[in-house]
Every structure is written in structure tokens, then in C-alpha cells.
């Protein structure tokens, strides 16, 4: 498995931010990312999204011979697959440590805590029992995968129904959905896994860490709790921690979070049930695919907190000019080392006021092109007077204003092509958009 390589400055940045109480995506320490569960058409399939982490869960069952030590109980098998699809750092085929860790935590959380009534899955004692299998595929690995997987598995198990079975003398008859309704699993309690990242010997505890935060943290703690405040599993990884009450504190916080999550899962299940009962078209997993953003994994833009009054005013000016919404929050502070310089429409730059400019970079020397509009230049003339094009002075302006997402395209009309004479100097056409 290739290691996730994090640069030292990223590490330091995150650590510093955490020690100041800030996170990269602007959440508070105990905020969870947006959780979304969508159920498929089949019983027991769902897609769970926690921020950017995406997990697909599918529950299936078949009939098997029970274990000799427990002849009256059904079997539950949980399998997590972490392939190259989840992240560049995983190689499919070889078992890597992260996969084993997630598998074991989920096994502890669901199987060893006996959250499902296995005895109800027995068909014929010592011969035939239901073997329930939960397959989880991690589609995107972006932190707190264990939590997302546990919610997905829980939702899938709660959603799942196995076919009804009657036993005749010699064999068993498995009824299809049309003959008899499928039977849901009996779930005693609903456990979820909550993960924490601890920094600085436990001074800062972060809930639902992203992949980067997890990697940079000192200690990663996973607590599996159910809604009755019972601990189902605990897993501590990383460097050693000083005191036990850190774990106790995290567990109590985890219990609160677990309650919320379990309530959410129950609500979504209820909704899905209502949809099915009312015979409406079950949306299935199609709704996962039609997302309005162009890229399925697009991140929300970073919320930058600027703290200079001058900057704020400059920004206000710029904002009114271009009518564009910048994700900038204003706060009061005084920092007179920086000032904003406008370098053109909808672009600005932070410039240092200090005399010492070593390491801070000089003012941007790229000049903005005065002629911003390129659409109709090809119709103007054959030969254009080319401006002095040096690297520093040429700025290609990307106008992404308004709704139009189409790039401005230069259309070469046939008349222009014929007029061009090879003896003449080839005009330098300014290409728009793509560069």
C-alpha cells in the first residue's frame, strides 16, 4: 500500500489551525459533515455519503450449514473492500492494514455485539441457516470511513428483508417476494462507529476527521456505541495517550452523536418505507447519480476568514463591481501589514505593506489584457498587429461570469481561411478560453 504522503507544511498548517480552534473546511470541532443515505430498489442496498466519503452497502443472504459450535444460530459475515477506486494509495488485491482495521471494527461492532438476532435466522437446526452477508464497497476515501461504513451497514441491515421459508419434511421451500412478503431482520440495538482524531496529547478532539486530519493527528480513536449508551467496540491507534478519562470523555460524546445518527437512520428508513407503501415509484439509487455539480466529488469552496478591515473594504468594492459572490467572511481585526490591490476586474491580490519583502513575493507583474473580449476579433482583420507578447505581460483572463459555462469559442469562418495568403505573415490569433 502506498502511503499517503503529506507535506510538512500541510502538517504544520493543520496542527497550527487545530491549536487555534480552526479546521480546514470551517467546521467546528464537533461538527459532522453532511450525512445522506439513499436506498436502492432491492432490499438491503444503500449508498451512504458522509461529506465526501462514499460507501455502498449491499446485504444478501443464502442458506448454509451452521457452525458446529453454534448449531442454532445464523451466520453474519461483514466484508469491506478498499480498492484503488477509493483512493490512489490503495492497491486492489493485496490486503492492506486499513482494510483489516475497518473489517475488524465492523465485525466487533455488529457481530460480536450481537445486534442482530441470529437465532431467528435458523431454519433447520444443525443443517440449514441463513447466512447474511454485508458487502461494503468504499467508493471514496475521504476520512471517517469507519463511521460511514458502520452507518451504511446499519442502514442496509435495517432495510434488508430475507425471503420467507417453510420447511417440509425433507427440504425447505423458499418463497419469492410475490408469494409471501419478505421478513426483516430482528435488530436488538443499533450500533454506530464514531471516530475521533486527537491532537496534542488529547487537548483537541476532532469529530469526523477528514483523511488529511486523520493522517496528521497523533491518535485516532474509534468508539462504537449504540443508542442506549452501551459501548460495543473501542479501537485506539497512534501514539500513546496519557489518561483514561480522555477515552471516557470521547465515549460520552460518541454516545450523544450515536443517538443523533441512529435517529437519522431510523427517519430515512421510515421515509423509504412510506414511499414503498404508497406504491409510488421508488427512486432507488438513481437519485445519487443526478447531482447538480459537474464533478461528483466537487468540494465546497474553502471559507477563508480574513481579518483586516482594509481588506474588507477593498473586497466590498470588488464585490459591488463584479456582482459575484465571493466566499469571504468579514471579521474585525487590525492588520496593517497587508493591503489589497486590484489587478483587474474580479481579481485582486494581497500585497505586503512592509518594507521587507523577502519571502513575501513582489507585486504581481502580470498585466491584465485591456481587450477583454475576444469573440469577434477574427472578423475584424486578417493581419493583426501583435502586441509585444512577453511572458510577464500576457494575462489570459478567464471570464467565468454569469450562468454561461461555455467557453468563448473563436469561430474560424471559411471566408477568412481563403483570404489568407501564405506569403503573408501568419496572424497570431489570440485563442480564448483554453490555454
Amino acid at each position: 500500500m502506498k502511503e499517503l504522503i503529506v507535506s510538512t507544511c500541510e502538517k504544520n498548517f493543520i496542527r497550527q489551525a487545530v491549536s487555534q480552534g480552526k479546521r480546514l473546511d470551517g467546521r467546528k470541532f464537533d461538527d459532522l459533515r453532511k450525512l445522506d443515505i439513499k436506498y436502492g430498489l432491492e432490499w438491503g442496498s444503500c449508498v451512504t455519503t458522509l461529506g465526501s466519503t462514499k460507501v455502498v452497502a449491499q446485504v444478501s443472504c443464502d442458506v448454509q450449514v451452521p457452525k458446529t459450535s453454534r448449531p442454532n444460530e445464523g451466520l453474519l459475515f461483514i466484508n469491506v473492500e478498499l480498492s484503488g477506486m477509493a483512493s490512489v494509495h490503495f492497491e486492489s488485491g493485496k490486503i492492506n492494514d486499513a482494510e483489516v482495521k475497518i473489517n475488524r471494527i465492523l465485525e466487533k461492532c455488529f457481530r460480536e455485539s450481537k445486534c442482530i438476532d441470529l437465532e431467528a435466522l435458523c431454519i433447520v437446526a444443525e443443517e440449514k441457516v441463513w447466512n447474511v452477508r454485508v458487502d461494503l464497497n468504499i467508493l471514496n476515501y475521504e476520512g471517517n470511513v469507519v463511521g460511514c461504513c458502520s452507518i451504511a451497514a446499519l442502514a442496509a441491515l435495517a432495510h434488508f428483508r430475507h425471503p420467507d421459508v417453510t420447511s417440509t419434511g425433507e427440504g425447505i421451500i423458499i418463497h419469492s417476494e410475490a408469494e409471501r412478503d419478505a421478513i426483516p431482520l430482528t435488530i436488538h440495538h443499533y450500533p454506530v462507529a464514531v471516530s475521533f482524531a486527537l491532537f496534542d496529547q488529547g487537548k483537541h478532539i476532532i469529530h469526523d476527521p477528514t483523511a488529511l486530519e486523520e493522517h496528521v493527528s497523533d491518535v485516532q480513536l474509534v468508539v462504537c456505541v449504540n443508542s442506549y449508551r452501551e459501548l460495543c467496540g473501542l479501537y485506539l491507534e497512534g501514539s500513546s495517550i496519557k489518561t483514561v478519562d480522555l477515552v471516557v470523555r470521547c465515549s460520552s460524546q460518541a454516545a450523544k452523536i450515536a443517538k443523533r445518527l441512529v435517529d437519522y437512520v431510523r427517519d430515512t428508513l421510515q421515509e423509504d418505507q412510506n414511499v414503498r407503501n404508497s406504491n409510488m415509484q421508488v427512486p432507488g439509487l438513481v437519485s445519487c447519480v443526478n447531482e447538480d455539480s459537474l464533478f461528483a466529488l466537487s468540494q465546497e469552496r474553502l471559507i477563508i476568514k480574513l481579518t483586516d478591515r482594509e481588506l474588507q473594504e477593498k473586497i466590498k468594492e470588488l464585490t459591488t463591481e463584479t456582482e459575484e459572490k465571493l466566499d469571504v467572511e468579514m471579521k474585525d481585526c487590525s492588520n496593517e501589514d497587508m493591503k489589497i490591490v486590484s489587478t483587474g476586474p474580479s481579481s485582486a491580490e494581497l500585497v505586503s505593506n512592509l518594507d521587507v519583502k523577502v519571502g513575501l513575493g513582489d507585486k504581481n507583474a502580470w498585466m491584465v489584457d485591456e481587450g477583454g473580449d475576444y469573440s469577434s476579433e477574427s472578423e475584424n482583420s486578417e493581419v493583426e498587429l501583435v502586441q509585444e507578447v512577453s511572458r510577464h505581460e500576457k494575462v489570459i483572463q478567464l471570464e467565468l461570469s454569469g450562468d454561461s459555462e461555455e467557453e468563448e469559442v473563436t469561430v474560424l469562418k471559411p471566408e477568412n481561411l481563403e483570404q489568407r495568403d501564405l506569403s503573408q505573415k501568419l496572424p497570431k490569433k489570440k485563442k480564448s478560453g483554453k490555454k
Binding site: 458446529t68 459450535s69 490486503i95 492494514d97 483489516v100 482495521k101 473489517n103 475488524r104 465485525e107 466487533k108 460480536e112 455485539s113 450481537k114 440495538h189 450500533p191 456505541v225 449504540n226 442506549y228 449508551r229 452501551e230 459501548l231 460495543c232 467496540g233 473501542l234 479501537y235 485506539l236 491507534e237 497512534g238 501514539s239 500513546s240 495517550i241 496519557k242 489518561t243 483514561v244 478519562d245 477515552v247 471516557v248 465515549s251 460520552s252 454516545a255
Partner: protein, 247 residues
Amino acid sequence: MDLISDQGLRVDGRRAGELRRIRCKLGVYDQPDGSAYLEQGHTKVLAAVYGPHQIRGSRTKALQDSVVINCQYSMATFSTGERKKRPRGDRRSTEMTMLLKQAVSAVIKAELYPRSQIDVFLEVLQADGGNYCACVNAATLALIDAGIPLREYVVACTASLANGKVPLVDISHLEETMGGPNLTVAALPLSGQIAVMEMSQRFHIDHLEEVTQLALQGCRDIYKILDKAVKEHLLETGDFFPQLESN
């Protein structure tokens, strides 16, 4: 079957806070750089340490500023009640290997041996509960036998909750499977730091504190036993520690 009777005795006759009998021996073999054998009740474990030596296999694994620690946990096929088909390679063994590596990494002074590798191999000969703990304890002894500088001993202990109210320490296989929760803690006894903490089955959060404290106390008790064994071993094998005789 009750895990703890009315008189406060457990299935094997111990009290709630009593550890099983621990017997150990350092330097069992000559070929590994360090080896140790540890018995905790009926659980028997052999540990072997090779190193520090050059990185085996791909040189790219070498770390520039610290040692690479390689662990392997393996159970003999005849060690459990029901025969185990494969000694290692299944999920449980891989998880144990990872946890072992975590525990051992917490105490080895990794910065002393850059670009080198230390191998720690564990073989469980008889499993009767507390396999991981016996392995961690044996690994500590083997590391000491190999002469690798450690910050402290790393000692592990299990604890559980009987009948929902009485905490038990150092649980056997029977008590593990009877349905009580098991909490495994690997700690550094002198500084009180916790290197590994792992729990399965379920119990209420309110009990977490007392069960953990009991496990930590168990760790401290085991540490005393191990330390005594190490000093005795030194007395036997080396005669240049005259001051130990007065202890």
C-alpha cells in the same frame, strides 16, 4: 453458568481482581537475538526478536530517521480447542499483528537505529484467553533479552465485567466467550500511558472507567512480576551486576 459466584469466586477459583499465574523464561533459544517464553495461566506464548539488522526485502521500506518494526502474530494449529486451519493470514491474526506493532512501537527507541529493521515474531502454542496480552508481555521480555533499548516495559492486560456489575481482570477463554465484554489495554506502567486499547462485546459507558482502571492496575501488577523475572535472569546469566543482589 455464572462468571462469578456468590462467594466472589470465578470459574477457575480466582477472585475478581486476581491475575493468573505467570511464569516466564528469557533466552530460550540461541539463534534469535532475543527470545522469551511466557505462560499466563494456560496461555503459552513464545517470542523471538531478530535485530536490529539490515532491512530485508525491498530497501525502499527503509526509513531515514527511525527503525522499521516488523511483527508477526501466529497461532499454532493445535493451540485452540477447535483445530485452526491456518496458523496466520486470517483477519484476526492480521489485526493482532497490527496491534502488536503499535504496542511495541510505543516503547522502542526508534530513532537509535535508522535504516534498520527489528523483527518481533510471536507464536501462540496454547490459547486460553488473553493471547494478545501474553504476546505483548512476551515481546517485551524478548526485546529486553535482545538488548534493544526500551523506554519502558509495555505490558498488556484484559478486563471484563461479570453479570453487569463486577469487574474482572485477566480473563480466560471461557470468560471471553461467555458473553461478557472484553477490554484489552496495553500500557506503559510507570508513566501510565496507554499504547493500545481495544474492546469488544458490549457494556454500558458508565462502567468504562472502572474496567479500564482495573486493567491498568493489572498491567502494573504484571509489570512487577516481569521485572522480577528479568532481574533474576540477569543474576543468573551475568555476574557483573553485584548491586542487584542487595535488592
